[in-house]
């Protein structure tokens, strides 16, 4: 662990796969920028891999003041031990006050290992990060300008704000899609710092035999309108309603975990805590009860329409347009009404 270091930078781990930057790291730079401005410190991006320096410039366009490039042929493939060792050493050298990781499969594997080695605190799956003070009543001390790490807890039934005032860096992970992508500023420049890293064989305990990545069947994050169906839709055949309404609106179909588990639609369409987090202009929730895990993935939508025959369904708490009725009649009515307009 490192000591409280008020001059420390705000760092973001930048995820890349075979030379391609993943969205998540760039999204986090947006928030890191805000945090850095508030604290009056620079934003550093940590880029790890083999032959990755060429990506550094682009990272500056998204808000980084500095890019730390950790290059080594042995870092060509992600491995927990080698990456965490490289990052841990960098933390000790520069003592950042904050470090944020994406809560991706890679980030959730890596961040805890780094935090454990650094003996620092880590908060998983934050839905918001900001700066604030914390008072310790017992000792009558106020810790100023800490990272407030806000996350749903207890299956999403409460929102907890977590802080770490003594064993830094303050570390957190954030899911993809939770923070909006910052605007690209092509004229923005930053410092590129190439660091030597030594990787020993001890840090490479894995042999990667085979890997298969598949493209998602749908890009929910990029959709302006999402029509999502839940268990209430009733059957795969009936899910036609969701596809038809989506087609009429030029929207993407989404779903709850219950609908996915029932086999109505592919898992790629799942919205929520364990699915995709979305923030479209319009989200239409059809036959969805509005469990907190689902709401976590869609409540930031600009407009929400909910169609449910149970007036007490929790989804109505977040809906702008509440339609209490049977989806089997309401959805066809909507399709008709939309088609009549265009």
């Amino acid at each position: 662990m490192i000591k409280v270091n008020r001059k420390g930078e705000v760092w973001v781990f930048i995820e890349q796969h075979e030379g391609k930057l993943e969205d998540i790291g760039l999204e986090l730079l947006g928030r890191a920028r805000t945090l850095g401005n508030e604290l009056g410190v620079e934003v550093g991006a940590v880029l790890v891999g083999d032959n990755v320096k060429s990506m550094a410039e682009k990272i500056c366009h998204y808000g980084a003041d500095k890019v730390y490039v950790l290059e080594n042929p042995l870092l060509g493939h992600y491995q927990t031990n080698s990456y965490s060792k490289a990052i841990y050493d960098l933390i000790h050298k520069y003592e950042p006050q904050i470090m944020i990781f994406g809560a991706s499969a890679c980030g959730r594997d890596l961040a805890p290992r780094v935090a454990s080695a650094a003996k620092a605190g880590l908060t998983a799956d934050c839905t918001d990060l900001c700066i604030g003070d914390h008072e310790v009543k017992k000792t009558n001390t106020v810790h100023k300008k800490l990272l407030l790490q806000i996350r749903p807890a207890f299956g999403g039934n409460i929102i907890a704000t977590i802080i770490n005032y003594d064993r830094w860096p303050q570390m957190a992970t954030v899911r993809e899609g939770v923070m909006p992508m910052p605007e690209l500023q092509a004229d923005r420049k930053g410092k590129i710092i190439v660091e030597q890293v030594h990787i020993g064989n001890d840090e490479l305990p894995l042999e990667i035999l085979n890997e298969h990545k598949r493209e998602k069947k749908v890009n929910l994050k990029a959709s302006r309108i999402i029509v999502a169906g839940g268990a209430g839709v009733g059957s795969k055949e009936n899910f036609r309603f969701i596809w038809d309404l989506a087609n009429a609106l030029g929207a993407s179909p989404g779903a709850t975990r219950a609908a996915v588990d029932l086999g109505f639609i592919d898992r790629d369409h799942q919205v929520g805590q364990t699915g995709t987090t979305v923030r479209p202009s319009l989200y239409i929730a059809v036959g969805i009860s509005g469990a907190i895990q689902h709401q976590a993935g869609m409540c930031e939508s600009q407009k929400i329409i909910a169609i449910n025959n149970d007036p007490d369904a929790p989804i109505f708490n977040v809906a702008h347009y509440k339609i209490v009725g049977d989806l089997n009649t309401v959805v066809p009515t909507m399709i008709k009404s939309i088609k009549a307009r265009v």
């Binding site: 880590l122 914390h134 977590i162 770490n164 490479l204 990545k213 509440k322 009649t329 909507m334």
Partner: protein, 331 residues
């Protein structure tokens, strides 16, 4: 299953990772598995009654269950034992009531169960928890440490990787299928969200297991009959007190001693360790050992600012669509 050597012998370190040593002549065929399990409140069953007025959760109002993915981890360990031999030990850190999931593990086929319980564990965050668990695991002889990917009360998925770091062993997270064990390494398939990856990793190692990995077995009737009276020392004490509310302290101590002895003789005393037993350094345990602290807890009341009811009629729907077109939500 025959051990696979593949064509590993002649490789050197490469970007894909260190190449494993060639196999020993004597292939180890039995593996000691240690499974870390947790008792959690059933967060799926949260209703209005389980929420306190201040927005916190009333844990007492929720049923306590075996964390679902820990059951998948236990199943994988039992599977390894069935296929290759060896022993399965389960450990939980928790309140005395967590003895229950230890018994459930014995019913399913675990060979030994250990409760790590100590007041000084209270308020441990994931870092302190993984430290305490590592101190317990270090007392054991192990080849493979298994954890569920995450617990449903926190969903952090941090304890597995942190425990691996504390033990100084590699981790293979999100395991969906174990492909083979060859005495020195494990080959497994990981689910990496947008695809999968097959990796081979030297032992000892830690794996975290996801729910797609298997279908956890149910309790065996025979093992249930055999172990249903198994108790942890702390449970013996509690039941002695409850059964004899008016008895003196000496009397209780006497009863406890007799009962534990009897259980011990019948192989029904579940092992129990406190922080001294595992030689944990208290600076890394409990509240003091936890860098993360709670700043604030709020209950979730998400509400839309301007919301309205729309009649489920043609007119109602048409008006809504019209509004959405005029504010350019729909083009």
């Amino acid at each position: 299953m025959t051990p696979k050597t593949g064509n590993l012998q002649n490789k050197t370190a490469n970007p894909n990772g260190l190449v494993l040593k060639p196999l020993n002549k004597e292939v180890k065929l039995a593996y000691n598995c240690v499974v870390l399990i947790k008792q959690v409140p059933d967060t799926k069953k949260i209703t209005g009654e389980a929420m306190n007025d201040d927005g916190t959760v009333n844990r007492g109002a929720l049923p306590a269950i075996f964390n679902p993915e820990d059951l998948n981890a236990l199943e994988l360990a039992l599977d390894i034992k069935d296929q290759y031999g060896g022993a399965v030990t389960v450990i939980t850190m928790g309140l005395p009531s967590a003895s229950d999931i230890l018994r459930q593990s014995l019913y399913r086929g675990a060979d030994e169960a250990i409760l790590v319980t100590d007041r000084r564990c209270a308020a441990s965050d994931t870092l302190a928890t993984s430290y305490i668990l590592s101190a317990a695991v270090k007392k054991l002889d192990y080849d493979i440490v298994l954890c569920g990917r995450q617990a449903i009360d926190g969903d952090t998925a941090q304890v597995g990787p942190q425990l691996a770091e504390k033990l100084g062993i590699p981790q293979v997270t999100y395991v969906e299928e174990l492909l083979s064990l060859d005495g020195e390494s494990m080959t497994a398939r990981r689910n990496i969200g947008n695809g999968w990856q097959e990796v081979r990793c030297e032992m000892p190692l830690l794996v975290t297991v996801i729910d797609e990995a298997n279908e956890p077995r149910v309790a065996s009737a025979r093992k249930l009959m055999k172990n249903k009276n198994a108790l942890t020392p702390v449970e013996v004490e509690v039941s002695a007190r409850q059964g004899n509310p008016d008895a003196s302290a000496e009397k209780i101590a006497e009863l406890v001693k007799r009962k534990t002895q009897e259980l011990q003789e019948n192989g029904l005393l579940i092992k129990q360790w406190d922080l001294d037993d595992i030689e944990a350094d208290l600076t890394w345990c409990g509240r003091d050992g936890s860098p993360t602290k709670v700043h604030r807890i709020q209950s979730v009341v998400l509400s839309a600012k301007d919301s309205k009811f729309v009649e489920p009629t043609e007119q109602g729907v048409a008006d809504m669509i019209h509004e959405l077109i005029s504010d350019k939500t729909i083009s």
